[in-house]
């Protein structure tokens, strides 16, 4: 993370002065949870949160409010999480399965496909469902986890994700599709109805 991560087209904001406590109170939760989802580790997420928020505290004299701080923080958190992973050279030992493995050679489904009983009409997920999804995301290989977190949790456009990850839009889309297929497969045993 460095000074160049700031988008020079964004004004530095106006409004009430920021204090370290206000920065922590307002932003630690968002920074921490974004980093945790990308890294799949509480301890790594705490390190990244500290790194990111102390950068802000060191530069408090350059911020006069928070109208753009949130956008800036989002970007530097993603960059810091990716850098943290590279620095640790974490070769996470996830088995990278092909989500198309369960199709038969003739293209049929290799196992029954059941409807799910979950009904996400409520805007707020219950805690158990939320935990199931968080755990399933944490179990994804990191390059799939990144795109699910950025595209579906954070709801960034594919073009922006491609820019952040240094990939093509087509590559992001293809990876996102495979990540969703793996996530669907991980969630299915928890949500399936008894039979179709």
């Amino acid at each position: 993370m460095d000074e160049n991560d700031r988008d020079p087209s964004e004004p530095l904001s106006t409004g009430e002065p920021l204090t370290p406590e206000k920065v922590f109170h307002e932003h630690a939760g968002r920074v921490y949870h974004l980093a945790r989802r990308m890294l799949g580790s509480d301890a790594d997420a705490e390190d990244v949160t500290q790194d990111v928020l102390l950068q802000v505290v060191r530069k408090l004299d350059t911020f006069r409010g928070e109208s753009t701080l949130s956008t800036w923080l989002h970007r530097i958190t993603v960059n810091a999480a990716l850098a943290h992973r590279r620095k640790k050279a974490h070769r996470e030992e996830h088995e990278v399965r092909d989500p198309f493995d369960h199709f038969l050679d003739d293209g049929f489904h290799g196992a029954p496909v059941h409807q799910w009983s979950v009904r996400p009409e409520d805007q707020v997920l219950d805690e158990e469902t939320q935990q199931l999804i968080e755990q399933a995301i944490a179990q994804l290989p990191p390059h799939y986890r990144d795109v699910i977190v950025l595209a579906d949790v954070e709801q960034l456009p594919n073009a922006e994700i491609a820019k952040v990850l240094g990939d093509s839009v087509q590559a992001v889309k293809s990876r996102l599709h495979r990540a969703r297929l793996l996530l669907r497969e991980a969630l299915a045993p928890h949500f399936e109805e008894a039979s179709l």
């Binding site: 500290q50 060191r58 004299d61 198309f100 579906d152 599709h177 297929l181 949500f191």
Partner: protein, 91 residues
């Protein structure tokens, strides 16, 4: 199943992301729709793929951080002094 659509279940799943974002040529879209009519497992697959996206999009983007993290941040911030502007202006 390949049915009248001339498309296998695997083919259909390959194209789901483009189908949902409405980025397919009309002919392929029609074949997918025909296949979905004929194939209950693929219809269930499409519904559960959509649910996967919908559920993930409902995760909260923020939540309270762990209390020990807040303590750690406060302790670390105590060791930092915000940069002061140079006395008498700069340059």
């Amino acid at each position: 199943m390949s049915s009248d659509s001339g498309m296998t279940c695997r083919d259909l799943v390959e194209f789901l992301i483009d189908y949902l974002s409405d980025e397919l040529p009309i002919d392929r879209r029609r074949r997918i729709e025909q296949h979905l009519k004929d194939c209950p497992p693929c219809e269930a697959y499409l519904k559960t793929y959509r649910l996967t996206i919908k559920l993930t999009r409902q995760l909260p983007r923020s939540a309270p951080p762990p209390p020990q993290l807040m303590e750690r941040l406060r302790a670390a911030a105590q060791g930092l002094a915000p940069r002061q502007p140079p006395a008498g202006g700069c340059c």
